[in-house]
């Protein structure tokens, strides 16, 4: 077994990187894969919160790198899945506590015993981003259908392409089909037209995502959530399966009806 290292990044902050990591990790684990996620956002950690593991942290990734504990000791087992682990970020240090080669070393140590290593990159294109992509076999770029988020994603894709060893794929997060229909939001086609990279998934806007993040229970666990379904599909695609994209128009009918009922736009 040799793990695939997948880094989730975005450029702009707040587009849903951490949520994506938590949900993909959960979905992969639900498919029986052995998964480790590493929080690369040293100093501003929150993957532990989204996974609901905050109160179990003893050691973090900086402790591992600086030799204060063994790798096993820093791996926190998930509440739902035996085979899902989190290596948290240090909250009291900054990005310079880790170097790109440290990340490569940690990932190499994890590779033999796992199927997937997911790395949650911090926002930005500086040190923390460099650390997070250093070991990556695959990079997923998360963006929202907003001009500013797409602009930053474009920058990140440019940097990744310049290094020639990553083929980035796109997750379009928080798409609201009703707003796209009324021309108030960029459509998936608009975003793809600009970025021109492979699309690995579209996640519709869904309030249950926020509820799940706050509760520490990713929506990928909820069979009825559309966002959860979208994340489960992305996890399948990461495993090399062909899964058709969600029919967002079905949701659209409901959305449209709800919005008409509440007096919103058609």
């Amino acid at each position: 077994m040799t793990a695939k290292v997948v880094t989730i990044t975005s450029g702009k902050g707040g587009v849903g990187k951490t949520t994506a990591v938590a949900n993909l990790a959960t979905a992969l684990a639900a498919d029986g894969k052995k998964v480790v996620c590493i929080d690369g956002d040293i100093g501003l950690r929150n993957l532990d919160i989204v996974l609901g593991l905050e109160n179990r942290i003893v050691y973090d990734v900086v402790d591992v790198i600086e030799g204060r504990c063994r790798l096993r000791q820093a791996m926190i087992r998930d509440k739902h899945f035996e085979q899902l682990f989190l290596i948290p970020a240090a909250q009291t240090r900054d990005k310079n506590a880790v170097s790109p080669s440290d990340m490569v070393r940690v990932c190499d140590e994890l590779r033999p015993d796992h199927d997937f290593i997911l790395i949650d990159s911090p926002a930005g294109i500086e040190r923390g981003f460099r650390n997070s992509i250093a070991a990556a076999d695959k990079v997923l770029v998360v963006t929202n259908p907003e001009v500013s988020a797409v602009r930053d994603a474009d920058r990140v894709v440019g940097i990744l392409e310049a290094e020639e060893k990553y083929a980035p794929a796109l997750i379009l997060n928080r798409l609201n089909p009703a707003m796209v229909k009324s021309h108030d939001m960029l459509s998936a086609a608009d975003v793809l037209d600009l970025l021109a990279i492979q699309l690995i998934g579209i996640v519709p806007e869904d309030e249950s995502v926020i509820v799940g993040s706050n509760r520490g229970a990713p929506v990928a666990l909820e069979p009825k959530s559309r966002a959860g379904q979208a994340f489960r599909n992305i996890a399948k695609r990461l495993q090399g399966q062909e899964v058709p994209f969600l029919d967002l128009d079905k949701q659209d009918g409901l959305w449209g009806r709800l919005q008409r009922l509440t007096g919103g736009r058609k």
Partner: protein, 227 residues
């Protein structure tokens, strides 16, 4: 003093270290620099480095390798100064600065009336993404798009076989005869010499357009008429 210290010249700047590398080959430069750093680790620790590598042409692999080697030593590579366009392009692609802000630009505005020569052109066969800046002292031809957030600055004409949604500056040193043409000219800003145009609206059905300075001295884009 040994050979390595003459290859590597260090100068303190206000907020960074300027290191000039004068060795013959890149291998020589890199190993001399790393030797210097390892010998004086505490001096370099946490430094922001500006590298001046003269005329050497560096590719992405070499620069990434150097950046990683430096970052392992607690040094961040901030800028790469070079006279080689290839190196500059590489640095720009990696998001590094390519000139120091307190170093005044050598170019000065010198309006010239002569039409742009047909000699030098830079041909790029790729899409320029946000954050990329291309500067060239001649014509620039791009087979691909210029995305929002990207900039092209040419002393001559700029021709884009694709969509323009970033910033284009043709005739950057004052040539008012320069033109900009593109299959779809929905640029955020166009400049020719010292004329600036406001935002052009994205079109539903884009048609090829040519922008130039008209008789009234204003920058204007017109549909391209074949023949």
């Amino acid at each position: 003093m040994n050979a390595t210290s003459s290859t590597v010249q260090i100068k303190g700047l206000r907020d960074s270290l300027l290191v000039a590398l004068t060795g013959e080959t890149w291998e020589e430069n890199q190993s001399a620099l790393l030797t210097q750093i390892d010998e004086r680790a505490s001096f370099f620790q946490g430094a922001r480095l500006v590298l001046d590598i003269g005329t050497q042409a560096l590719g992405v692999d070499e620069m990434v390798q150097l950046r990683d080697l430096l970052s392992e030593r607690g040094i961040s590579l901030w800028a790469v100064l070079s006279e080689s366009p290839k190196t500059e392009k590489t640095a720009q692609l990696l998001g590094l600065a390519t000139r120091l802000s307190n170093k005044p630009r050598v170019e000065e505005k010198r309006p010239s009336a002569e039409p742009v020569g047909e000699d030098a052109a830079l041909f790029l066969s790729k899409t320029l993404r946000s954050g990329t800046r291309i500067e060239y002292p001649g014509n620039v031809v791009i087979f691909g798009d210029v995305n929002p957030g990207a900039e092209v600055v040419a002393e001559g004409n700029v021709i884009v076989w694709g969509r323009v949604r970033g910033v284009i500056h043709a005739g950057a040193k004052g040539n008012r005869q320069a033109i900009i043409c593109a299959l779809d000219l929905s640029a955020t800003q166009l400049r020719i010499a010292d004329e600036v145009s406001a935002t052009l609206k994205p079109q539903k059905n884009p048609r090829p357009e040519v922008a130039s300075i008209n008789k009234d001295g204003r920058l204007q884009a017109e549909l391209w008429q074949p023949g």
